[in-house]
C-alpha cells in the first residue's frame, strides 16, 4: 500500500472524454449484427458473419433476410417483429438455430434509421427462460423490504447478481458529487481480491460513458481479449455517418477500457446502471477472471434487479432526506420562537446560539450585528472573522455562501482549517454588514483509492492519454482542509431562516415606526394642549379680569345696564374657561383609554343622545328624520360621545332656523358602515373644511355659536381610533352633512 498526504487536487484526467464510444464501428465477436431496412433488406453486417454462419458479408448486403436464414426462419422473425413493439431498447425475439447447429438468441431494436438484429451465441440448451426473472425479482423485493440501510440493500443486490451471473466478484458502487465511485457492497468468491470501501476516481469512467450508462442500463463484455468484428460497410448506409451502437448489446468497447479490465485481472465484466431520479447514482459492476457469457434472460433479470434497487434507494433517500429536513425545521422553529422573546436582537440571538450550532451541525457559530460580534463554539478569532466577512462582502453576491473547503477559496483561512474548513455564511441585512456564519471543523479523512488516481499513464509504448493505470493496489490518500459537506436541506433551511429573521427585523422596524408615529402624534397633541392653555384659556381669564376691573372702576358711574353686561361677561368667561378645561381633559383621555368594542344598535344610541339633548332643544321646532340604522361594533361610550357631538352641533347650527330639519342615516359600504348627520343650518364654506376637525379650530364667531373648538377634533379622534374616517359637506346657508365610517372588522 502506498500512503501519501495531499491537500486534494483536482483529478483532471479527462483525455478519454473525447473518444466516440457510441460509434466504435465494431462489435464484440460473440455474436453478429445485421442492420436492416424496413423491408428487411440487409444494409450492414458485422464481418464475423462468415465465421459464425459461413455466409460472406459481401454476398448478403442488399439481400433479403431470407437469404441468410432461409424462408422459414425469416418468416418467424418477421412474425416476431410484427408481434413485438420494437423500440430503442433491444428486446428478445426468439432463439434460432443456424447452419452448423449454432444456436443464437435474437435481439432487435430500432436506432439510427436501422432495424438492428443482434444474434448472440446461446450457450445453453433450449430457448432463454424469462420465467426465471419473475421468481428472482419477487424474492429480491421481499428481501429488500427487510433491509434497513442502502448498504444492506446493495449487499443483497450484489449477492443476487452474483448468483445469477456466476461472476467471481459483484460490486455495488455509488458516485459522489465529484463523480468518484465508492464501493458500498461486494459479493465475491474467496479467490477474488476485495475492493470493498475503495474509491475509483471519476476519470475511470469518462463523461460519454456515463451518458451511455444512462441510456443503456446494462452492458456486457464477455471476453476482454476479444478481437472486434468490424461493420461492413463501416458507415450507416441510411445516414452516411458512423453507425450509432448506443443501444446494441454487442457494441464494442474502448480499447482503453479493455486495457483497464486486463490491468484489474478481469476478463469478463458486466455493469448495470443504478439510475435514481434520472441521475446515474451508481453501478453494479460484475467481474470474472475468465471470459464468461451472460445470456439475455439473465441479463434482463440483472437489469430488473438493478432497477428495483435503484427505486428502493430513491425512496430510502427521499425518506432520509425528509426526516433530516423535518429535524432541521424543528430546530429552526424552536429557534425562531426564542428569537421573538425580547426586544434586543443580539440578546435573543445569544439565547439561541446552541440551537444555531445544532441547526447546521456546525462546530462554531458567529453573529456579526451592528459591529458587535457574538461567537459560540469553535470559531476563528475576532479579527479573522472580520477579515472573512470583509472578503465575503466583496466577493459573494448570493443569499448564501457555503464551502467545505474554505482555505481553497480564501487563502487566509488556511490558518484556521482546524475549526473552519467548512463555512456557511449569510448576510442578514441587505444594507448593513450583518452576518450569520457557521463553521465546520476540518475532517481529516483518508481515501483508499484503487490505484493512484493521479498516475494514470502506464503501459509502455502506448500514448499516455490512452493508457489506464497498471496498478489497482490500494493507494491511500489523506485529505486535509475540508469539512463535512453542507447538506442541501441545511442550506435551504438557512435561507429560510434568514428570511424569517428579516421578517422579524421588518416587523420590529414597523413596530418602531408605529411607535414613532404614535409619539409624533402625542407630541403634536401636547403642543396643541400647551398652545390652547396659553392661548385659549388666557382669553376668558383676561376677560374676567378686564370686566371685573371695569366694574370696580365704574364705581357706580356707569349705567346699571352696562354693569350688568360686564357681570354677564364675567360669568360667561368663567363658564367658558371651565368648559375648556373639561374638554381638554376629555380629549386627553381619549388618546389613552382602551377601546372596548361591543355590538351597538345605532337607533338606540341616537335615541339616548336625543334624550340628553332635550334641554337644549326645548322650545325649538326640530324635525328629526331618523332612517333605518344598523347594529355595528364599536366602543359604546366613545361612539356615543362622537354621535352626541355631531347631533348637538346640528342642533346648535340650526338655531336660527324656524324649522330645523336634522336627518340621521346609514349606508352599508361593504367593509364599513357610514353614519351621516345632516342639518339645514348655517353650514360653512368648504374652503375651510380642512380646518374643521383640527383641535381648537372654529369656523364661526364666538357669539354666533358657543363652543371650545374641541368637539369635532374629539369626533375625529374617536372615529380614527376605530379605524374609520370623518368628513363633512356643506354649502353656507344650506346646511351641512357630517359623516363618519366604522369598519365592520375592527383591528384593535
Amino acid at each position: 500500500m502506498t500512503v501519501v498526504t495531499t491537500t486534494s487536487h483536482d483529478l483532471d484526467l479527462s483525455s478519454c472524454d473525447k473518444e466516440p464510444i457510441h460509434t466504435p464501428g465494431s462489435i464484440q465477436p460473440h455474436g453478429f449484427l445485421l442492420a436492416l431496412s424496413k423491408e428487411l433488406t440487409v444494409l450492414q453486417a458485422s464481418d464475423n458473419l462468415s465465421s459464425l454462419t459461413g455466409v460472406c458479408v459481401e454476398d448478403l448486403l442488399g439481400q433479403p433476410l431470407a437469404h441468410l436464414l432461409g424462408a422459414g426462419l425469416a418468416e418467424r422473425i418477421k412474425a416476431a417483429l410484427a408481434q413485438s413493439e420494437v423500440g430503442q431498447r433491444p428486446i428478445f425475439l426468439c432463439t434460432v438455430e443456424l447452419a452448423r447447429g449454432a444456436r443464437f438468441d435474437v435481439l432487435a431494436h430500432h436506432h439510427d434509421g436501422l432495424l438492428m438484429l443482434e444474434f448472440e451465441k446461446a450457450e445453453q440448451e433450449g430457448p432463454a427462460d424469462l420465467r426465471y426473472l419473475y421468481r428472482k425479482v419477487g424474492d429480491f423485493l421481499l428481501k429488500l423490504n427487510n433491509a434497513s440501510t442502502v448498504v444492506e440493500m446493495a449487499r443483497l443486490a450484489a449477492q443476487d447478481i452474483c448468483a445469477v451471473t456466476g461472476y467471481g466478484r459483484v460490486m455495488v458502487y455509488s458516485f459522489d458529487p465529484e463523480g468518484h465511485g465508492h464501493v458500498l457492497a461486494e459479493c465475491r468468491s474467496d479467490d477474488y481480491h476485495s475492493y470493498l470501501g475503495q474509491r475509483f476516481p471519476a476519470t475511470d469512467i469518462p463523461r460519454q460513458a456515463r451518458e451511455l450508462y444512462l441510456l443503456n442500463r446494462i452492458r456486457l463484455i464477455q471476453d476482454a481479449s476479444y478481437t472486434p468484428a468490424r461493420l461492413v460497410p463501416p458507415l450507416n448506409p441510411v445516414t452516411g455517418k458512423a453507425t450509432d451502437l448506443s443501444f446494441a448489446s454487442l457494441r464494442s468497447v474502448s480499447p482503453v477500457h479493455l486495457q483497464y479490465m486486463r490491468n484489474m485481472g478481469t476478463m469478463a465484466s458486466m455493469s448495470v446502471s443504478l439510475i435514481v431520479k434520472g441521475k446515474l447514482w451508481g453501478l453494479i459492476s460484475c467481474h470474472h477472471d475468465t471470459p464468461s457469457p451472460v445470456a439475455f434472460d439473465k441479463r434482463t433479470a440483472c437489469e430488473q434487479l438493478g432497477q428495483i434497487l435503484a427505486m428502493c434507494i430513491g425512496s430510502r433517500e427521499d425518506a432520509d432526506e425528509l426526516q433530516f429536513r423535518l429535524e432541521v425545521r424543528r430546530v429552526m422553529v424552536s429557534m425562531l420562537g426564542g428569537l421573538t422573546h425580547g426586544a434586543d436582537f443580539i440578546d435573543n440571538m445569544s439565547s439561541v446560539l446552541p440551537s444555531l450550532l445544532q441547526f447546521a451541525r456546525a462546530g462554531g457559530v458567529a453573529v456579526l450585528y451592528d459591529d458587535r460580534l457574538l461567537v459560540h463554539g469553535d470559531a476563528p478569532g475576532e479579527a479573522q472573522i472580520e477579515e472573512l466577512v470583509a472578503w465575503l462582502g466583496m466577493n459573494t453576491h448570493a443569499d448564501v455562501f457555503h464551502t467545505d473547503k474554505l482555505s481553497r477559496v480564501f487563502a487566509p483561512a488556511a490558518a484556521y482549517t482546524k475549526v473552519a474548513s467548512g463555512l456557511l455564511a449569510m448576510p442578514i441585512s441587505r444594507i448593513h454588514k450583518h452576518y450569520l456564519l457557521w463553521f465546520r471543523p476540518e475532517t481529516v479523512h483518508t481515501i483508499d483509492w484503487a490505484g493512484n488516481p493521479y498516475d494514470k499513464a502506464a503501459a509502455n509504448g502506448t500514448p499516455p492519454q490512452l493508457s489506464p493505470r497498471t496498478s489497482f493496489d490500494s493507494w491511500r490518500e489523506t485529505i486535509h482542509g475540508t469539512s463535512a459537506p453542507w447538506h442541501s436541506g441545511e442550506i435551504e433551511m438557512a435561507v429560510e431562516f434568514r428570511s424569517a429573521l428579516l421578517g422579524l427585523a421588518l416587523e420590529r422596524a414597523e413596530q418602531m415606526a408605529e411607535l414613532a408615529e404614535d409619539l409624533g402624534r402625542a407630541n403634536k397633541e401636547l403642543e396643541a394642549f400647551s398652545y390652547s392653555v396659553s392661548h385659549d384659556l388666557r382669553a376668558p381669564l383676561r376677560h374676567i379680569v378686564g370686566f371685573s376691573d371695569l366694574l370696580l372702576e365704574a364705581a357706580g358711574n356707569d349705567s346699571l345696564e352696562k354693569r350688568q353686561r360686564f357681570l354677564k361677561n364675567i360669568k360667561e368667561s368663567a363658564r367658558l374657561a371651565g368648559k375648556l378645561v373639561d374638554d381638554l381633559l376629555s380629549f386627553s383621555q381619549m388618546g389613552r383609554a382602551a377601546l372596548r368594542p361591543t355590538e351597538i344598535a345605532m337607533a338606540d344610541m341616537v335615541r339616548s343622545c336625543l334624550d340628553k339633548l332635550s334641554i337644549e332643544t326645548r322650545g325649538r321646532n326640530i324635525e328629526w328624520d331618523i332612517g333605518p340604522l344598523p347594529t355595528l361594533k364599536a366602543d359604546p361610550s366613545f361612539l356615543q360621545l362622537a354621535l352626541y357631538n355631531l347631533l348637538s352641533n346640528a342642533v346648535k347650527f340650526t338655531g336660527q332656523k324656524e324649522l330645523a330639519v336634522i336627518r340621521v342615516s346609514a349606508q352599508d359600504n361593504d367593509h364599513e358602515w357610514v353614519i351621516s348627520v345632516a342639518d339645514n343650518g348655517a353650514g360653512f364654506n368648504m374652503d375651510y373644511v380642512h380646518k374643521l376637525f383640527g383641535v381648537f379650530q372654529r369656523l364661526h364667531r364666538m357669539e354666533d355659536f358657543q363652543g371650545t373648538g374641541i368637539g369635532l377634533a374629539n369626533v375625529r379622534r374617536i372615529i380614527e381610533r376605530h379605524g374609520g374616517r370623518v368628513w363633512a359637506q356643506s354649502q353656507p346657508g344650506q346646511g351641512a352633512t357630517f359623516s363618519f365610517s366604522i369598519p365592520k372588522e375592527l383591528n384593535d
Partner: protein, 151 residues
C-alpha cells in the same frame, strides 16, 4: 385729519375690551371692525359688503392671530403679497406667547407683535400706546387715505 384703524377681532369680549381701551386713550380715530379674516380681507380689497366703501388703506391694522375661517397669519400673508396693501402697518394682537407664532408673524412681515396682557390696566395701556403710536405719531405710507370725521 384722522386715520382709521382696522380692528380684526372675533371674540366679542376682546372686542369690547379693546374698544373701551381705545376710547380710554381718547383717540378720535374711526375704528373699523372686521369679525374674521375673510371680512378683513373683503374690507381691505373693497370686496363683498365693502365693495362701495371709500377707497384707501387704514393707518394700521390691529390683527388678532386666531380667527375663524382665515386666521391672522393668512390675512397677513395676503396683505404682504398684495401690492396695494403691502406697506400698510400691521400689529399682531394676540393671546399667544408661542414662539412659533411670533417667528411666523415676523417672517411674514408683521410690524409689531403684542401679547394681550391679562391685567386690564396693562391691556388698556398697551392698546392706548399702540393707537397713539400707529394712528397718530406714525407717518403712514402714501396711499393711506386721510379720513375726515364727519361732524
Amino acid at each position: 385729519m384722522l386715520k382709521p384703524i382696522l380692528l380684526v377681532e372675533d371674540n366679542p369680549h376682546d372686542l369690547e375690551l379693546t374698544l373701551i381701551a381705545l376710547e380710554k386713550s381718547q383717540l378720535a380715530n374711526e375704528v373699523i371692525i372686521a369679525r374674521d379674516g375673510a371680512e378683513a380681507l373683503d374690507y381691505l380689497r373693497c370686496e363683498g359688503d365693502f365693495a362701495k366703501r371709500q377707497v384707501g388703506n387704514p393707518a394700521v391694522i390691529l390683527l388678532d392671530l386666531k380667527l375663524p375661517k382665515v386666521d391672522g397669519l393668512e390675512v397677513l400673508k395676503v396683505i404682504r403679497s398684495t401690492p396695494s396693501l403691502k406697506s400698510v402697518p400691521v400689529v399682531m394682537l394676540t393671546s399667544s406667547r408661542e414662539e412659533q407664532d411670533l417667528l411666523r408673524s415676523y417672517e411674514l412681515g408683521v410690524n409689531a407683535y403684542v401679547v394681550k396682557p391679562v391685567d386690564f390696566g396693562e391691556f388698556v395701556r398697551a392698546i392706548a400706546d399702540l393707537g397713539i403710536f400707529w394712528a397718530v405719531l406714525n407717518e403712514p405710507p402714501p396711499g393711506s387715505y386721510r379720513y375726515i370725521k364727519p361732524h
